[in-house]
Subunit: 342 residues, 2 copies
DNA sequence: TTGTAGGCGTTATCAA
DNA sequence: TTGATAACGCCTACAA
């Protein structure tokens, strides 16, 4: 009952030629007569022959598979990056293997290991929030030839190429925009500073303030997560004290959304009394009651770039040298009603 | 400069034992002394040995990889289903390979083939809109043992398990809800009827009308796509003629969104003058200016169920018998402001 | 132009 | 308890 697919042996038997001939014919080897090629191809089709990439990979050392590790796949940002990578690489015959770390460094480690065991040709990853130590990653670099490419959430490790957006500039642009709109007391919802992206957004915010002769008030920096609830809590916290901000630059769209909800509840008008601007340009931002300004991360482009960086590193690996690439994409500010007072 | 990872041969050399012993020790074979096991494991770690799953797969015939083909990965629905599948299967040591068909049956075919070449243990798929003929799929069934599982967008093919939601019931529920709210002239935005899901949603809509003594007016069935623009166009078309509906049940959230936008533009009040209800419960629906009612498809659950169906079929395949499963999940109606008149 | 044979890294069978 | 060896399916020197 088991249908085993035909191998080149089966074909060679049927045709009374050697396996080598079959293999070469199937691979369009120049020194095989057109007649045999034709014959082999025809019978291969008849016998429903399918090449076993496993065997080929075992021989060649190339699986034509790459792994991707992200915290969760079902967010607009990560699924869009994956889309970009897949579109860039599937044309070149690569398959894309997806793993979710659930923001847990131990799961991340496990996936890294199983991907390596699966002999992937490369690994794309955005580190989890709990990835503080990076020994497990550096270790791979030292002991294997498998290229690793960080996208978005990177760590500074020599020899690893990265594709990111300029989060600093994103933070700067958002803050500067608020200043130009006349807001005076701008607060920032900062994310987990263990991740560079949030560190950079915060720094951009700070520098924009300084460059415009504003003071940086530590009280105006609230740490939130990337959920609606943390945004709600942040508003509660802010309004419980004296100095109330007139603008919020949030490092997360979801926290910004929570802020909008809580502000509405308190009958505080956006953007008249308080401006709100988020980060990521999640699809929902443009459909909100009050369309929300946000910083776009061009995720599909990021994925495509990451794919290209990988391809280059594969080529280089063949030639011996290997230099890391650091691609930095420009963020794009989408200004909508939530931050336009003028 | 090339770092080649250690094999069991390297270990066997170093320890002066046979490869067989090493292999058995690593696999915790009962008839190997604890001492050698310990020694082997220790040196394996020292030499940074990593099992080559390729070789193992070649031998065993199991790659522990499954393929998933979806139109696009970066939509909430598909990425959530994938999340479910990944979470269910990664625990069992499987990896998940993602392919996008871009709604093109030819790309779908190509992916199907390369996945088969990659020796995946199973294939999950949601067919593309251009998949009319299913010969290429039936062919796989006949010539391989690779189980195929359809989720959401299925085709009726004997021997293929499916996991779907009850779209008929979803359509019925949505329409009935509108009727109970007192709407009298309910129109339907139908999707591509080549896909069963849209056929079923339409049928549910019709039956709900009939069961409540409403007439089915063919004019009230507008064919839209799954984009905002098609929803806008639909409203234009409807309002250009005499009998204007007082409720819209859209088979797509995006078309429903387009409708809301166009209605607002025309100063037509939702839900007082016209009710709107969508399908898919996309994240943006709850954050809209006027939160929109929608039918939830429980995508993560769908993915998990699909994973389980696959596992069962793997077990069965070992035992010889193989019966197809048809899992139908219950849709969930989320009633929000856009359809509550009372 | 075609054939022979070895090897990729494992596991499993048969001996010892 | 361990060892030798064949086999998984393919590719590729080397030979013919």
């Amino acid at each position: 009952m088991n249908k085993k697919s035909a191998t080149i042996y089966d074909i060679s038997h049927k045709l009374n030629v050697s396996v080598a001939t079959v293999s070469r014919a199937l691979n369009d080897h120049p020194r095989i007569s057109e007649a045999t090629k034709e014959l082999v191809r025809k019978t291969a089709k008849e016998m429903n022959y399918k090449q076993n990439n496993l065997a080929k990979a075992l021989k060649s050392g190339e699986t034509k598979n790459v792994g991707i590790i992200v915290p969760y796949i079902n967010t607009n940002f990560f699924s869009s990056v994956i889309r970009g990578i897949e579109e860039e690489l599937s044309l070149l015959g690569y398959h894309v293997i997806i793993c979710q770390s659930h923001e847990d460094v131990n799961i991340e480690k496990r996936h890294l290991n199983t991907l390596l065991n699966a002999q992937v040709d490369g690994i794309f990853m955005s580190v989890s929030k709990t990835t503080i130590d990076t020994e497990h990653i550096e270790n791979i670099l030292e002991t294997t030839n498998t290229p690793i490419i960080f996208f978005d959430r990177k760590k500074d490790i020599a020899g690893i190429s990265t594709v990111t957006i300029d989060d600093y500039r994103g933070g700067y642009m958002a803050t500067e925009h608020l200043i130009k709109e006349g807001y005076k007391n701008i607060c920032h919802f900062a994310g987990d500073l263990n991740l560079e992206i949030y560190q950079n957004r915060l720094n951009g915010y700070k520098q924009a303030l300084l460059d415009n002769n504003f003071q940086i008030k530590e009280d105006n920096i609230i740490f939130t997560g990337s959920s609606i609830d943390t945004g709600i809590d942040a508003i509660k916290k802010l309004w419980d004290r004296k100095s109330i901000p007139d603008a919020i630059f949030s490092s997360s769209d979801f926290a910004a959304l929570g802020a909008c909800q809580e502000l509405k509840k308190r009958k505080i008008k956006i953007p008249e009394e308080v401006a709100v601007i988020g980060f990521s340009n999640e699809p929902f931002t443009q459909f909100m009651e009050l369309p929300m300004s946000s910083v776009d991360q061009t995720p599909v482009t990021m994925g495509k770039m990451a794919g290209r960086v990988f391809i280059e590193s594969v080529k280089e690996n063949g030639s011996g040298v290997s230099t890391e690439k650091k691609v930095v994409l420009a963020p794009q500010l989408y200004i909508r009603k939530s931050s336009k007072r003028k």
